[in-house]
Symmetry: C2
Amino acid sequence: MTTRPERREDALSRERIVGAAVELLDRKGEGGLTFRALAAHLETGPGAIYWHVANKNELLTAATDAVLAPAMTAEVTGTPQEVVRAVALGVFDAIEAHPWVGAQLSADPTQPAVLRIFERVGQQVRALDVPPSAWFTAASAVLHFVLGGGAQNAALARTLRDTTNRTDYLEAVAAAWADLDPDEHPFTRAVAAELRDHDDRVQFLDGVDLILAGIAGLR
Amino acid sequence: MTTRPERREDALSRERIVGAAVELLDRKGEGGLTFRALAAHLETGPGAIYWHVANKNELLTAATDAVLAPAMTAEVTGTPQEVVRAVALGVFDAIEAHPWVGAQLSADPTQPAVLRIFERVGQQVRALDVPPSAWFTAASAVLHFVLGGGAQNAALARTLRDTTNRTDYLEAVAAAWADLDPDEHPFTRAVAAELRDHDDRVQFLDGVDLILAGIAGLR
DNA sequence: ACCTGAACACCGTTCAAGT
DNA sequence: ACCTGAACACCGTTCAAGT
């Protein structure tokens, strides 16, 4: 029997690198992830990272999956509708906690994190007695809504993080909307007041329900 | 009466800069828009651009609106459902013609191009006899789906542009899906065959119809 | 008022050289 | 096998100086 060499505590590894990347992204935003900053944080040179990770894109993809995987593998029980709501909310919350995930999920439809969401949603679509010919469309519709809504919310969250007062900012946007040309933007004007005190989370879930209602009609 | 100074044909202006930016983005992709490349194209120094445009972000926002505005101001007649479909398709086609628009629309919910889409969709929601309390949710749902689906499609289009053969690439992804672990990804596996010969455009419109069906249920 | 272009403070990525 | 860090080829943005 051979003894394995003692692994240094602080040895570099893909996991440690990805973990540090997530930390950096969370603390400093998308602009904060730099091979130099990452290397400094891990106490190496920038070149060392390239031994474990091909490039920045791969690093971002891995960081996104690391952040999303827990929510997408959690066991949820309930009706298919309830599970879809839970999955959607899991994505929403992950994006709210890590705003950089919002843009990243929209950047590549073939990345593992997107596949996880698609799969979870698709399984529920199948459980809803949707005819097989509509499976793809139904699952894609939910996916697109979740990623689109998540990205919009993340962008807003990023702006809000830089703003001292959240209510003040939403107030300002609502005021701008209310000030729009009635001939050009009648709807947005009419809806401006609702922006002031709307709950993103509730509205997001209402949107999910809307699509679920549409899917129910496919039976 | 004073004579205005003769305006030089090649004088710099916001419009010329934005036009050149669109051209550069279309020809070279998101990475191709550089203040240096833009300046070279306009036969000036990079600093000159900053007299007309605050920064790169503002330039991207303006370029996005320039590309989307025509489709969003076009007159469309028909039922509210038909108009929503036309608007959604207008966004889809704009993104397909200018893939960089996909990511840009998801980057900032307050940008003018997004407001245009929201307004057009909202007006139709109102025409559909949706109760006022659901206006915001219904319009947002369509918006999120359109932006989410558009971004996904743009990302795919970007990958496909770098690939020699479109069918080969989709074939490869479909094969990868079909090879997934049946225990982890049963749905994606089951649906892999459909990816091979699905029509993005048709599927996108089917998704719009799904949401419209959900909205109809709000009455 | 508008343009010029050098300069500043950064980037991602590579690669010879080390251990 | 894995790490180091200097070097390459870039960026966005600023700003004194020009017209």
